[in-house]
């Protein structure tokens, strides 16, 4: 993909600044309102987003919505203190007022550093497009109806089908007192199918979906409507036959791809810079130590083309990076934003993310995955006498201080004598992050990334993320079923 930072900046300025009578040259004046004595870093974050969604139920698209959001967030920092204010308006007056508010907050002098430094080394990780415009309304509706048709055709027990198509066109521009000037145009689309199947008085749900940072037209071209519809029905049918999951400690084999949510919860959050600077993470102070079995290598990678969690530049204007977190079981890296990197004497890693201009950035994950190992997935299953094989999950949560994490299976099976047997009902799996990573005993060669459905929540802010992993075996994890 071509790298034309200046063209991107000009486009962003046209969209974000010009309507309010501003231009790129106005930003220094904007920053000066914030850089009062005592303030050692300030930034302006301009954003505008257009969000569209279409929802099908009962064979018809009855709901559709469109949302326009935008404004500027202004941050002022002095040491560990941060002042933050924002405005829905992007005008000179609004910049002056929010700037004064943000700096008044930390009030305790830095001069504006040299001329703005355009972030030119940033490679573009996705096309700078409006993903909503490639398909007509009729085509979007046809895509949803195709999902309905395919799901109902897949099995007579399907009683309800709902499908949704959504997309966001987002334009951001960052100007910081350290000279940063960066812009990004971020497309994001998603297609989802959820079905209810009813058989012999039992009712189960199945769902499937995916997307990424590309045009909606690609969803049509890749025939996702039919694929996700069939996948959702398959999952519902599996669950209709599910027996109670066991309760207690057992070996667990996790399938490739989306089960990588394990890494997101068990290690990812615990390696975010803020928790480690404050010493509140179970991984704090363990840099260079063994925190996982040999062979375990986990990375956070914002550079993957078109992935849901990818970022050309982060929300502080730092280019997105490939950051090794754990290498061959040894803790080697944290994910950092500028504040925590500075306070820890490290370099930012391009992990500063925010839900919107109205939220403060924090160190966050992008696409987090484990690299492939050498084991044959079939051999991994064969190695388990009695255990669980889990291939899909609903969601997870972690207490980064105690290291306890959970994730809830939505499709899982028993393993008996090295063979996958009966499906089991969804159950929550619970463990301790550092302990669980030390119990990884086999790693498949089949690394897969998820299909593009993850949303990560932290301090009330949601951001899109990706996960991935090869087939993995953990020698022991607690399964929250009901069968003895």
């Amino acid at each position: 993909m071509t790298t034309r930072p200046q063209a991107m900046l000009d486009t962003a300025a046209d969209i974000l600044l010009r309507p309010g009578g501003l231009g790129l040259e106005s930003l220094d004046a904007g920053l000066r309102h914030v850089l009062t004595p005592g303030v050692d870093y300030a930034d302006l974050y301009f954003q505008r987003s257009w969000h569209e969604s279409w929802v099908l139920e009962d064979g018809e698209v009855k709901e559709a919505g469109y949302n326009i959001d935008g404004g500027v967030g202004v941050r002022a920092m002095a040491g560990e203190k941060t002042g933050f204010a924002y405005s829905n308006q992007i005008t000179a007056d609004a910049l002056a007022e929010t700037g004064r508010t943000a700096s008044g907050i930390v009030r305790s002098g830095a001069a504006l550093s040299a001329a703005p430094r355009v972030i030119s080394q940033a490679s573009v990780r996705y096309d700078a497009i409006d993903p909503l415009s490639g398909l007509s309304a009729e085509e979007k509706i046809a895509l949803l109806k195709e999902a309905d048709r395919a799901a109902r055709a897949a099995d007579p027990s399907v009683s309800q089908v709902s499908a949704s198509l959504s997309g966001v066109h987002e334009v951001v521009l960052v100007r910081a007192s350290d000279g940063t000037l960066a812009a990004d145009i971020r497309p994001l689309v998603r297609f989802n199918v959820s079905v209810i199947a009813v058989k012999n008085g039992r009712r189960e749900r199945g769902s499937a979906g995916g997307g990424g940072r590309y045009a909606m037209a690609r969803l049509r071209d890749e025939n996702v409507a039919e694929r996700y519809a069939r996948e959702a029905v398959r999952q519902a049918l599996v669950n209709l036959d599910a027996v109670d999951a066991p309760a207690g400690q057992l070996p667990v084999v996790l399938g490739p791809g989306w089960p990588g949510i394990l890494l997101h919860e068990a290690v990812g959050h615990g390696l975010e810079g803020d928790f480690n600077r404050k010493g509140s993470s179970a991984f704090a102070g363990r840099m260079g130590e063994r925190v996982a079995s040999p062979g375990v290598t986990v990375v956070d990678d914002a550079t993957l083309a078109d992935r849901r969690g990818s970022m050309s530049v982060d929300d502080e204007g730092t280019p997105g990076q490939y950051t090794p977190l754990i290498e061959d079981g040894i803790l080697t890296g944290y994910m950092q934003d500028k504040l925590n990197a500075r306070l820890m004497g490290m370099a930012p890693t391009g992990n500063a993310r925010r839900e919107s201009f109205a939220h403060m950035p924090m160190p966050r994950m992008t696409n987090t995955y484990m690299l492939a190992g050498q084991d044959e997935p079939a051999d991994i299953i064969k190695s388990v006498r009695r255990g669980i094989y889990a291939v899909s999950f609903g969601g997870g949560q972690v207490d980064i201080t105690s290291g306890k994490f959970v994730f809830s299976a939505s499709e899982a099976y028993l393993i008996e004598d090295g063979r996958i047997t009966a499906p089991v009902k969804g159950a929550t799996l619970i463990g301790n992050g550092p302990e669980a990573m030390g119990r990884v005993s086999m790693i498949g060669h089949d690394l897969e990334l998820d299909t593009g459905i993850g949303v990560c929540g932290k301090d009330g802010q949601g951001v899109p993320v990706g996960v991935g992993q090869p087939t993995l075996k953990l020698d022991e994890l607690t399964i929250g079923g009901t069968a003895s």
């Binding site: 018809e60 698209v61 009855k62 709901e63 559709a64 919505g65 469109y66 949302n67 326009i68 959001d69 404004g71 560990e80 203190k81 941060t82 002042g83 933050f84 204010a85 924002y86 829905n88 308006q89 508010t101 943000a102 907050i105 930390v106 309304a137 509706i141 009683s159 309800q160 709902s162 209810i196 009813v198 009712r203 309760a247 207690g248 400690q249 404050k278 509140s280 179970a282 109205a358 403060m360 997870g396 949560q397 207490d399 201080t401 105690s402 290291g403 306890k404 994490f405 959970v406 809830s408 009902k425 969804g426 159950a427 929550t428 619970i430 301790n432 607690t478 929250g480 079923g481 009901t482």
Partner: protein
């Protein structure tokens, strides 16, 4: 600085924006239209280890428009409330309504159901708080917690104070507006022993700042809750009674309400479809709604359809007495709205209440759960499996803290197996409940 914001003064502005959008929709040929508009402003302070960490001033506004034309519906919204933006939002909603499919159930609630009784429910208590005062309160809260012996460090104390106004108007001529405020103070602390670090927190939250607990009380309680987790172990796997602390019991009511919400029912996505009149809970248990309660956390005289809210009874003497319906979901089910567009407002329990000691004595041997983790609640099947932390109880007395285990059952069995409710009512949220003793669940631990 003092907050230069008066929610009440914003009311006429929001009303005129809503009327402007309704008039435009009418001109553009909409059969019906509804508009929601809001403005909120607040301050958020966080301190950590005795220092200010962040000071955040927030001001959010939004306008959302839904139009109906020939049985089709279109919606659009924006955070930009300029005249041009309102026009763009209405036009976009109209454009969308050209493409959506006809839906016989779509449309406004019946005009006859619009709220006519719109009393002031005493939910707006602005706090003239300076940044410095807010910082002092947060610091006092944290200091009270940090100073407790055994506390290793603080994860911080936060104070947030906000007020706002919302307006809902529709083309029946209904226009309702309400100002509201919410203030809260919280503290999270960390303690450490050979077993590693543990954290816990406490908070106070109220409409009226005068109803907040003293900062020192919150800080000390956070310390107490953190310290009592020291020496945590894993419980054995088995079937045992589970006592849900009041702070987590309200979540069970939340799951029940989701299962009787119209949207779950007409989609057949609930384990409580077609169960009206069934005895789901013990006969001594009732659950009702008081939307017009003065000062309540969710009080409102009108729902999100403009319909007059009312005192619903969802569980009466153990039986499912009513679903929770909006105008749309009611039409889908061939029923009448219960004035619950936007959810339930102020849920209350009617049951004989037992003290904590009585509940523990009755449980004998089991687990007291004070924290739940994860999303393992399946509203379609009622299956329940969540991560938990709490205390091991033996002979009716707390023995030691427990962690890293799951509790699992099916919600229908849990509701039926509700053995007693505690008198320790948690009144901080919109659901007021005491602890719940459930007769048996599967505990998976060591």
């Amino acid at each position: 600085m003092t907050q230069a914001f008066d929610a009440a003064a914003q009311q006429p502005l929001l009303t005129s924006r809503a009327e402007q959008a309704l008039a435009l929709a009418r001109r553009l040929g909409a059969d019906a239209c509804e508009v929601g508009a809001s403005v909120d402003q607040g301050i958020g302070i966080s301190v950590r280890e005795g220092e200010v960490e962040t000071v955040e001033l927030s001001r959010d506004q939004g306008i959302a428009v839904t139009v109906y034309q020939g049985g089709r519906k279109g919606s659009a919204s924006s955070t930009d409330a300029s005249d041009e933006s309102i026009r763009a939002v209405v036009e976009k909603a109209m454009a969308i309504a050209r493409y959506t499919g006809e839906d016989p159930a779509a449309g406004l609630a019946d005009a006859a159901l619009m709220a006519t009784e719109l009393p002031d429910l005493d939910v707006h208590h602005p706090w003239a708080l300076t940044t410095e005062q807010a910082i002092d309160l947060a610091l006092a809260c944290e200091a009270a917690g940090r100073s407790q012996p055994g506390i290793r460090q603080s994860e911080g104390a936060s104070l947030s104070s906000g007020e706002g106004v919302r307006v809902y108007a529709n083309s029946h001529g209904f226009l309702g507006s309400q100002c509201g405020s919410r203030h809260s103070l919280s503290c999270m602390l960390i303690a450490e022993d050979e077993g590693g670090m543990q954290r816990d927190y406490d908070y106070t939250s109220a409409r009226d700042p005068q109803d907040l607990l003293a900062p020192e009380v919150v800080g000390r309680s956070a310390a107490e809750k953190t310290l009592r987790r020291m020496g945590s172990r894993r419980p054995d796997t088995g079937r045992l009674p589970v006592l849900f602390d009041a702070t987590v019991a309200s979540g069970l009511i939340g799951h029940f309400m989701s299962a009787i919400a119209g949207g779950s029912l007409y989609r057949q996505a609930s384990f409580l479809c077609d169960r009206l009149g069934d005895g789901l809970f013990p006969a001594w248990f009732s659950l009702y709604e008081r939307p017009m309660e003065r000062g309540g956390m969710a009080s409102s005289p009108f729902d999100n359809d403009g319909v007059q809210t009312r005192d619903n009874v969802f569980i009466e003497n153990g039986q499912l007495a009513s679903y929770m319906l909006s105008a749309y979901s009611a039409r889908r089910l061939g029923m009448q709205t219960t004035g619950n567009a936007g959810g339930a407002r102020n849920l209350r329990i009617d049951a004989p209440l037992a003290t904590r000691d009585e509940l523990l004595a009755r449980m004998g041997r089991g687990v007291l759960v004070t924290e739940l983790m994860g999303q393992g609640v399946n509203g379609v099947t009622g299956d329940y499996s969540r991560g938990a932390a709490g205390f091991w109880v033996e002979n009716g007395e707390i023995q030691h803290p427990v962690e890293e285990f799951t509790i699992a059952s099916n919600m229908e069995a849990m509701f039926k197996g509700l053995a007693a409710v505690g008198s320790d009512i948690d009144t901080r949220g919109s659901i007021h409940s005491g602890s719940w003793l459930i007769d048996e669940m599967t505990i998976a631990g060591g």
